[in-house]
């Protein structure tokens, strides 16, 4: 269906919903690269006005990628819950924005609405939100998940401890873990990106992380972020797998480029559940996403990157993950050019994930070929904290020595918790207290019960 809107004496026509969504998207380099961005600020605002007037029901009626052509579209439409949708079914996209900002949208109402919202609906709303709207709405969303501890409770902020090493050196990984634990990181997960995709290395890293967790008796979970098929092989060989990780995207074709499908993810989840390693709960999946991955694989079907990103969250929620994060600035300036674009995308991703019911974290990050620096990251980190982000990353000194990009540091996590009066996950906070971590760390010392020799550092 075509949409038309006049702005400033010019009549703009958008041939279909996919185009309307793309033209309404605030400027970013990836949409320009894809050739789907608005050509002028006036065209963009015309698209935003037309989008605001669009009935939400129409979003259900006109899939941006055909049902027959894409298993993610089928998942979105087959799982749509009309009863949950009913309270907002009469609204337009603009009406939904107003409702989300209103006092009627309580945490309880937002939770009830989740199965009735589709990725395209939340993407559409986010396109007509300012940053403060993205923050304010997200701050009302509550999502709690459990494995060995509880992630996402109000008043908490969790940190993924990311102890990557350029050669997967066990001592390098262990030293970074210990450093992070001393600075309060690790309650979301202790998760290593392996430098190698060697299966034996993956298994040995899994064993290392499990030993560190066990020897320090840490109430958290561990993960080696290998490809899902490698992790399944590791499970088959008896390795201690807590969480199954995978990068995912919002179309069947981008997932194929990642070497995965919905059926493979289902199989992986069942394999992890069969191990029964989670005590309070059994959210066993960890997903990463990021705007631009579909275009990078030429698998975007003419959609804008933020709409495709939101569709990835439909894939994620199908598998009840413990953690999901957008790696917002990771891919590079061809998708998000500078700090301004990264900031907006991070807040969009967080809101869209939260509205769809995900335990949403963000890897607040940038590469050295992007126009961004630490000031941009501080701003995004602080905004996300106010928005109630579930977790952020913790990398020694913000410098990932294996992946060659800058994320947030352990210090950044301490800063954000202190600035916003947030605590780690309760089980982890109690463990830190028992181990005497904050007292020792503040004095620049190692707590007596955390001997480095216990984790092979001697």
């Amino acid at each position: 269906m075509a949409f038309a809107q006049a702005v400033g004496g010019t009549r703009y026509v958008f041939p279909d919903l996919r185009t309307l969504l793309a033209r309404a998207t605030p400027l970013r380099s990836g949409d320009v690269l894809a050739g789907v961005a608005a050509e002028s600020a006036q065209e963009r605002v015309a698209a935003q006005r037309a989008l605001a007037d669009l009935p939400l029901r129409h979003v259900l009626a006109e899939p941006v990628i055909p049902y027959e052509a894409d298993e993610v579209t089928r998942l979105i439409l087959d799982r749509h819950d009309a009863a949950a949708f009913a309270p907002v079914a009469h609204l337009t996209v603009g009406g939904l924005r107003d409702w989300l900002l209103s006092e009627a949208a309580t945490p309880e109402a937002l939770a009830g609405l989740r199965p009735g919202l589709t990725p395209e609906m939340v993407a559409a709303v986010s396109k007509i939100c300012r940053l403060q709207d993205l923050v304010a709405i997200a701050a009302k969303c509550r999502v709690t998940t459990r494995f060995r501890n509880t992630i996402g409770l109000p008043g908490t902020l969790s940190i993924r401890l990311q102890p990557n090493d350029p050669v997967d050196s066990p001592r390098g990984v262990a030293a970074a873990i210990l450093d992070g634990l001393l600075l309060g990181a690790g309650d979301a997960v202790i998760g290593v990106n392996p430098a190698s995709d060697n299966i034996d290395t993956t298994i040995r890293l899994l064993e290392l992380l499990d030993a560190v967790r066990d020897r320090y008796a840490i109430p958290t979970q561990t993960c080696v972020l290998a490809h899902v098929t490698t992790t399944m092989l590791a499970i088959g060989r008896g390795a201690p797998v807590d969480l199954v990780f995978q990068s995912i995207g919002g179309t069947e074709a981008v997932n194929r480029s990642f070497g995965v499908s919905l059926s493979l993810l289902k199989e992986a989840r069942e394999a992890a559940l069969s191990l029964k390693r989670g005590t309070p709960g059994s959210n066993v999946m960890y997903f990463e996403t990021g705007q631009g991955s579909a275009l990078s694989a030429e698998a975007h079907h003419g959609c804008d990157q933020q709409t495709v990103e939101a569709r990835a969250y439909a894939v994620a929620r199908e598998f009840a993950p413990l953690l999901v994060n957008s790696v917002v600035g990771f891919i590079g300036p061809e998708y998000l050019f500078d700090g301004k674009q990264i900031t907006r995308a991070g807040l969009e991703d967080h809101l869209c994930g939260k509205l769809l019911g995900l335990p949403m974290g963000v890897d607040v990050c940038y590469t050295n070929h992007a126009e961004a620096d630490q000031d941009d990251m501080d701003a995004l980190l602080t905004l996300l904290g106010v928005a109630g982000v579930t977790y952020v990353m913790g990398v020694p000194g913000a410098d990932d020595v294996m992946l060659a990009y800058q994320s947030t540091s352990f210090h950044d996590g301490l800063y954000l918790r202190a600035a916003l009066n947030k605590q780690p996950a309760p089980e982890f906070a109690a463990w830190m207290e028992r181990m005497g971590i904050e007292a020792a760390s503040g004095a620049g010392e190692l707590p007596g019960r955390m001997a480095p020799a216990l984790v092979g550092l001697s």
């Binding site: 350029p166 050669v167 390098g172 034996d200 990642f258 020595v401 060659a404 800063y415 020799a453």
Partner: protein
């Protein structure tokens, strides 16, 4: 032999990693020196993105290998275009296509600048030198080396496809990080042709001082090549099954 004394101080963690551990804390912030170290490293990494291959020096370093060298470029005409238009970095400049010799069934090395030329310049010749005798045992002919400017990983697909290569190993500059400005990545693709996806490649990353040595990378490359020839593909279906040494000593 008695074990060495366990590290007693936080700063001792630095012995085990190049990561920025044990930086200290002032309140929750970074001490001034650590903060400024970071700023300096960022400035250096930003500049490294602009580095380019020195063709004469590279040709001299490759000469002892006894393979012809062909220079090509992508359709990205300059660095800014390269950064903003990865699609152009994946396509071969039209005039270069006809300069590529046909080498049906050969193993092809492409040496490419990628996001930082420094590491490629320094280490690609050593990786190829270490790999050639190992590959010879597999009985594969080796194609002329192609050196490519303003190149993304997938440019190797078009080059390899045009030449009819059986496999392409793309040696490409990884993006510069704060700790390593000179890291080389290697992507192995079986049956290269335009349209191959990243799930159809195997990657060996962090070839650099403090990372993998050229000999280690060449060893893994050869292992993967042999396995790819058996399997008839590279990518997620091809798992690196080389045995590794144990990671952690027994509980003390």
């Amino acid at each position: 032999m008695a074990p060495a004394a366990a590290p007693a101080r936080w700063a001792d963690l630095r012995r085990f990693t190049s990561a920025r551990v044990a930086l200290g804390r002032v309140g929750n912030g970074l001490p001034t020196a650590a903060h400024l170290d970071f700023q300096e490293a960022h400035a250096r990494a930003r500049d490294a993105v602009q580095s380019a291959l020195d063709h004469a020096a590279l040709a001299a370093a490759l000469a002892p290998l006894g393979l012809p060298v062909v220079h090509v470029a992508s359709q990205a005409v300059d660095r800014r275009t390269f950064l903003l238009r990865p699609d152009l970095g994946r396509r071969l400049r039209e005039a270069d296509r006809e300069r590529l010799p046909a080498v049906p069934g050969a193993f092809l090395f492409v040496v490419a600048d990628g996001l930082c030329a420094t590491g490629v310049q320094a280490r690609a010749p050593a990786v190829i030198a270490a790999a050639l005798p190992l590959l010879a045992r597999l009985g594969l002919p080796v194609a002329p080396i192609v050196v490519a400017d303003q190149a993304r990983v997938a440019l190797g697909d078009e080059i390899g496809g045009a030449m009819g290569a059986a496999l392409v190993a793309m040696l490409i500059g990884e993006r510069p990080g704060l700790t390593a400005l000179d890291s080389l990545g290697l992507y192995l693709t079986y049956g290269p042709r335009p349209g191959r996806s990243d799930a159809e490649r195997n990657c060996i990353s962090n070839i650099r001082p403090g990372g993998l040595s050229p000999a280690q990378a060449a060893g893994t490359l050869t292992w993967l090549t042999a396995a790819a020839l058996q399997l008839g593909e590279t990518g997620v279906a091809l798992k690196d099954e080389q045995p590794q040494a144990p990671l952690l000593p027994p509980r003390c």
